[in-house]
Amino acid sequence: METTIAYMKPKTVKEALKFLQKHGGNAKIIAGGTDLLNQIKKGAKTPAALVNLKDVEELRGIAVTGKTVTIGALTTLFEIQNSEILAEHFPVLPYTASLMASPQVRNVATVGGNLANAAPSADMAPPLLVLAAKVEIHGPPKKRLIPLADFFTGPGETVMTGENILTRIKIPLMPKGARCIYRVHTLREAMDISMVSVAAYIKGRRKVGKARVALGAVAPVPMLVPEAAEVLEGQPFIPERIIAAGVEAREACKPIDDVRASANYRRHIVEILTRRTLQEIADGATS
């Protein structure tokens, strides 16, 4: 009658993969545990085994190689918040981390866990989406690097199986003249899950070269809105275009009613927040 959850603490990715394989996908990876422990407690998840990644040193750290910044999946939100490399290349990421949860949670929660948990409101997702980040996945069928945009498949669902590990996040360095910021709409000033969030990436000052807009908490997955980018690209960066992008974002989002907000309200906020976020970039904001 009693079920026992096996526990293992591998030292390498290889070892971890072996454990996962042994349990045929019924094992759960635990990184910071800030999402998973509550899910287990509430009976939402009942894994056969826990594979604790904490000792897998190769999954830690932030480094620049060539034109790419690599963030280990096990990097904590606190480390992201305080990373000099990120402050230099992608100030939006430390800023985003600083908005999330609380200091105590940030000290243990990992960026990999945030993405792998695949909450529609996962705050790390929208900025990484607009930065064109890729995620490295180990395990069957094979090691691969896929765009983050292809990673999420539904609330709590990703392309990964129970035998996969998200190992690294790779972000191409931003070209000169590109800026990226992230904004959230919450009720409380702190410790609040976003009702709506918007990340935007714009290259170009007067005229928009490349644009990307992503939304959080308003669809089954964090989503890019190519329609919003389209109305901006190749156009002067002016209020008319920015307003049009907001409207596109509103059309594209697919929010639901829940205890945090109604779908209608979310749709409205998507428009407002997209417009404001873009306007802030136009006005010179950088994180």
Binding site: T4, L50, N52, A101, S102, Q104, V105, N107, A190
Partner: protein, 168 residues
């Protein structure tokens, strides 16, 4: 059926003393502190990382002990509210400031608040009131409206900085 984790023997050093026990892999650190080490100053207000009442230091960083696995503290140092004062009942300046400034009402949030405040002041020894509020954004208090808690943290910062300067 509630699933239990495999039993694993761990040793956690809490406030300088080692505690060894075989625990379930799913046991959280709060339970280890409260039930194994029998240190009851660490409170549980939610068990879900939302209130901060269970805040302790794990190898020096503040964490919600309710959402950290006990096995993750194996071989590590934990500091709880019982471990921050000096010998002979001396209080940490943050504890003293909480008392003096009236930052305590029912006191249930207090141990977690004080732990978080101490950690925060290590990161930011000379904060503005706004920074203090942000530093305590993971700690709920239902009694005080936070005003006197913020006062207490600022007061403690001043005192700790004054001591620091006089030592130099």
């Amino acid at each position: 059926m509630t699933a239990k984790g495999e039993m694993i023997s761990i040793t956690v050093t809490i406030n300088g003393l080692p505690y060894t026990a075989a625990v379930s892999a799913t046991m959280n650190l709060t339970d280890f502190i409260r039930e194994v080490a029998n240190l009851t100053g660490t409170n549980v207000g939610c068990g879900e990382g939302e209130c901060g009442a269970c805040t302790v230091f794990l190898d020096g960083s503040s964490v919600n002990s309710c959402i950290v696995l006990a096995v993750d503290a194996d071989g590590k140092e934990v500091t709880t509210i019982e471990g921050i004062g000096g010998p002979n009942g001396d209080l940490h300046p943050v504890q003293q400031a909480f008392i003096d400034c009236g930052a305590i009402q029912c006191g249930f949030c207090t141990p977690g608040m004080i732990m978080q405040a101490i950690w925060f002041l290590k990161q930011n020894p000379d904060p503005t009131p706004e920074e203090v509020r942000a530093g305590l954004e993971g700690n709920l208090c239902r009694c005080t409206g936070y005003e006197k808690i913020v006062d207490a943290v600022l007061t403690a910062a001043q005192q700790m900085n004054a001591v620091e300067t006089s030592v130099r």
